[in-house]
């Protein structure tokens, strides 16, 4: 116990991130189930009115994004893998790293207090004023949760940028890095630059509510829309903070299980990943297409938003291209990774009409948007995290999970999510608004809502089986063979199982030909 609490070892910190984010995922997932049950029939189903329901909505959104996806991808995977992938004995500032994981845990505790305090926050994860200022709900809990997670993320970003820049193994050039390392760098640059903006915006919200300032009160010279702009200035790029590492994990898994290098490595890195980072910071206003902003600004952001298809298109080509002439085996991590190839298509392409201002004028704030971002951000990224957990499971635990049950879990998850969200596209186009407790004006949507709820329960079963396979595998699993997947990446080739303190028995040095993708006849030069 003590060696976990006071640990400064990046691997243990990574696992602490994993446990914390899976805990947040579980609770937020239960919220999703409650929401789905409530919506399964017309009129009040579970609770009498929306007061409780709105708290579920808040918790589901805030916890899934801020406490599961971002920490799961940039906390768990980055912590565990980056030092191992670049041949470093730890991160640049191990104690700061430990501090940031405990900040994260503290934030989760604070978020969970939502269910205990008398007036829980009901401001959704967006916290738009003036509602968040006028509500009786405790907006302060929302703000402090954002503060803690934001601070934790900034510390993480500083730490990992320094680690990758200064602590790569001797001889390791920039073009010999794992793609996952690159995607995480991109994500951390976004975190570093943009989180302070969100933090300052929610702080002003706090001042408005509790200290009587009027930063966002139009009556006294404030601007309602400015908050929305500041919020999405960070929170849209936050989508890429999630998407990029997710694509990174998927590419690692695809490369390993197809035994192929990442397709068109340099274009993927410098065009796909950094293109996304650059363009991704100029598109936030597409969240404000119907907000009443001046018309020509909305049309300007349509063009930048459509242009996001260029880097994301390059990433998709590289995902598919990695399979070409590969040697593909369908172990659980690979099944998750391949399924995301289809989920990304669905989630990404439904983003096209949402990039177009004039189509969004109808689609905004409907189930169409909701289904879209659940596909691209919720499901794709979650499946990527799961692919990552399964993929690095033998490394982390030294043991093997149960393949059969894991595959069953996958199929339940995959069928379940599609059953949950496919139908919602349809009623979204017909006008079903999101964040509704009830839908008396659209009684004809009841059967579709019910179908979606059934889907949600299939997912719940799948998730339960999945998490059980991890717990079972970690405790009772068979001993794993070294490098069971036959990967060429450094965390598999140079470490013990599981890696001990200091990571590498002998500090690795690499040659100019080495790359994490030296499959077949490939070398670093042919990437």
């Amino acid at each position: 116990m003590k060696e976990w609490i006071f640990t400064t070892d990046h691997k243990r910190i990574g696992i602490l991130y994993l446990v914390g984010s899976i805990a947040a995922f579980a609770v937020a997932g239960i919220m999703a189930l409650l929401i789905r049950v409530e919506l399964s029939s017309l009129g009040p189903t579970l609770v009498e009115d929306a007061s409780q329901y709105n708290v579920w909505l808040y918790f589901h959104g805030a916890a899934m994004i801020l406490a599961f996806l971002i920490p799961g991808l940039t906390g768990f995977v980055a912590n565990y893998c980056i030092p191992l992938m670049i041949g470093a004995h730890d991160v640049a500032f191990p104690r700061i790293n430990a501090f940031s994981v405990w900040l994260f845990w503290f934030a989760i505790v604070l978020a969970l207090l939502t269910f205990v305090i008398p007036d829980p926050p009901d401001v959704l994860w967006t916290g738009y004023p003036p509602y968040s200022v006028q509500t009786d709900g405790n907006t302060a809990f929302y703000v402090f949760t954002v503060h803690l997670l934001g601070f934790s993320s900034i510390l993480g970003a500083v730490n990992f940028l320094c680690t990758v820049i200064y602590m790569r193994a001797p001889g390791m050039g920039w073009n010999q890095l794992n793609v996952f390392v690159w995607t995480t760098l991109g994500a951390f640059v976004i975190q570093l630059v943009m989180i302070p903006v969100l933090a300052s915006a929610v702080t002003l919200l706090l001042f408005d509510k509790y200290l009587g300032t009027t930063f966002f009160n139009p009556e006294n010279g404030g601007d309602v829309l400015l908050y929305q702009n500041l919020f999405w200035f960070y929170s849209h790029p936050a989508v890429y903070v999630i998407l990029l590492p997710a694509v990174g994990i998927i590419l690692e898994v695809l490369a390993t299980f197809a035994r192929n290098p990442v397709f068109n490595y340099k274009v993927t890195v410098y065009g796909g990943i950094w293109g996304t980072v650059l363009l991704g910071s100029d598109v936030w206003a597409h969240h404000l297409y119907t907000s009443g902003m001046v018309d020509w600004l909305r049309i300007g952001m349509m063009v930048t938003t459509l242009l996001i298809s260029l880097p994301v298109g390059l990433l998709t080509i590289s995902l598919v291209g990695t399979l070409y002439k590969g040697s593909i085996s369908f172990k659980t991590p690979m099944v998750y990774a391949t399924s995301t190839l289809f989920l990304i298509l669905l989630g990404g392409l439904t983003g096209i009409p949402l990039a177009m201002t004039s189509l969004t004028v109808h689609l905004a704030e409907t189930y169409f948007v909701m289904a879209h971002f659940h596909y691209i951000m919720g499901i794709t990224a979650t499946f990527a995290v799961f692919a990552g957990v399964y993929y690095w499971f033998p490394l982390m635990t030294g043991k093997m999970y149960n393949e059969t049950y894991s595959q069953i879990g996958f199929w339940l998850n995959f069928i379940g999510v599609n059953l949950t969200f496919w139908p919602l596209f349809g009623i979204g186009i017909d006008g079903m608004p999101r964040r509704y407790f009830d839908y008396q004006m659209y009684p004809e949507f009841e059967s579709t809502q019910m179908l979606s709820t059934v889907g949600a329960f299939i997912v719940a079963a799948g998730m339960a089986i999945t998490i059980l396979t991890w717990i079972h595998g970690a405790i009772l699993g068979e001993k794993a063979k070294p490098n069971p997947w036959g990967s060429k990446s450094m965390e598999w080739t140079h470490c013990e199982y599981p890696p001990g303190p200091g990571n590498f028995p002998t500090p690795p040095e690499v040659t100019a030909e080495w790359s994490p993708y030296n499959y077949g006849k490939h070398t670093a030069q042919s990437l």
Binding site: D49, A50, N54, D122, P130, Y131, Q134, T135, P218, E219, A258, P261, F263, N264, K266, V267, T290, G292, D295, M302, L306, L307, S309, V320, T322, L323, Y324, K325, G326, S327, I328, S329, F330, T338, L341, F342, L345, L346, I352, P353, M356, S358, L359, V361, H362, A364, E365, T366, D430, G431, P433, R435, Y436, F437, D438, M441, Y519, G520, K521, S526
Partner: protein, 229 residues
């Protein structure tokens, strides 16, 4: 010679298309119809891309299944030219699609935002959790009642928090908030009823903040408007 002929023909075709479009005083554009048309184009576009990518992915997954345990991948090394081609060609394809979509989206956007000169003005006030519509003669109503066959512009602000005006049947939506005036317009083509909903989260009764949009014949509307209510 033939090339020049083609260029001239192309340019004049574009001009013939563009000049009337740019001319002022254009007839009423029913943006709802336009939305539906554009939506179908975009669905086709999306489906085409999805089918291409999904088909290739499935083909690879089937064809390159591992056959023996120690088999490794056999992907070719890309030459510099090939790797650039794999970047530049897709970029231009995507770019072309983007600009096609942007141009069409922009055209529709202009229709959605340029209120016809003869549009009937209705003032709307949103508050937690109801809507109030006020007509030019001072009559107020809780449902939006409009005459058939004439464009209507609804304009106003909110008394408290941000709400959203949404008319799903007319494919139009705009937020409404304190301190700013926002508007939307639509063209009721037929007599009937539609739903007006709030689409920006506003607390406890957010989902109860809806009302009817009643499209009446001109005569019915006039007699309705005449009675004080």
């Amino acid at each position: 010679m033939t090339i020049w002929f083609r260029v001239v023909a192309m340019v004049s075709a574009v001009a013939l298309w563009a000049v009337p479009a740019m001319a002022e005083g254009k007839p009423l554009q029913d943006h709802t119809e336009h939305w539906n048309t554009l939506w179908h184009h975009v669905i086709l576009d999306m489906t085409a891309i999805a089918v291409v990518f999904a088909a290739i992915t499935i083909w690879f997954l089937v064809k390159y299944k591992r056959t023996s345990e120690d088999q490794e991948g056999d992907s070719p090394s890309l030459s510099f030219g090939a790797s650039m081609a794999w970047a530049i060609i897709p970029i231009f394809l995507f770019l072309a699609d983007d600009f096609y979509l942007a141009a069409n989206g922009w055209k529709l956007w202009n229709d959605q935002r340029q209120v016809p000169e003869n549009a009937m003005e209705v003032k709307v006030t949103a508050s937690m959790w109801s809507w109030e519509y006020e007509y030019e003669n001072g009559k107020t109503s809780e449902d939006l009642v409009v005459p058939v066959g004439a464009p209507v512009v609804v304009r106003g602000s909110s008394d408290d928090v941000v709400h959203g005006m949404s008319l799903a049947d007319f494919r139009i939506k705009e937020d409404i908030m304190p301190g700013r005036i926002t508007y939307l317009w639509f063209y009721p083509k037929e007599v009937g009823e539609h739903v007006w909903t709030c689409t920006e989260y506003c607390g406890l009764n957010h989902s109860d903040m809806y009302n009817k949009v009643v499209v009446k014949s001109k005569a019915d509307f006039d007699s309705w408007l005449g009675t004080k209510g």
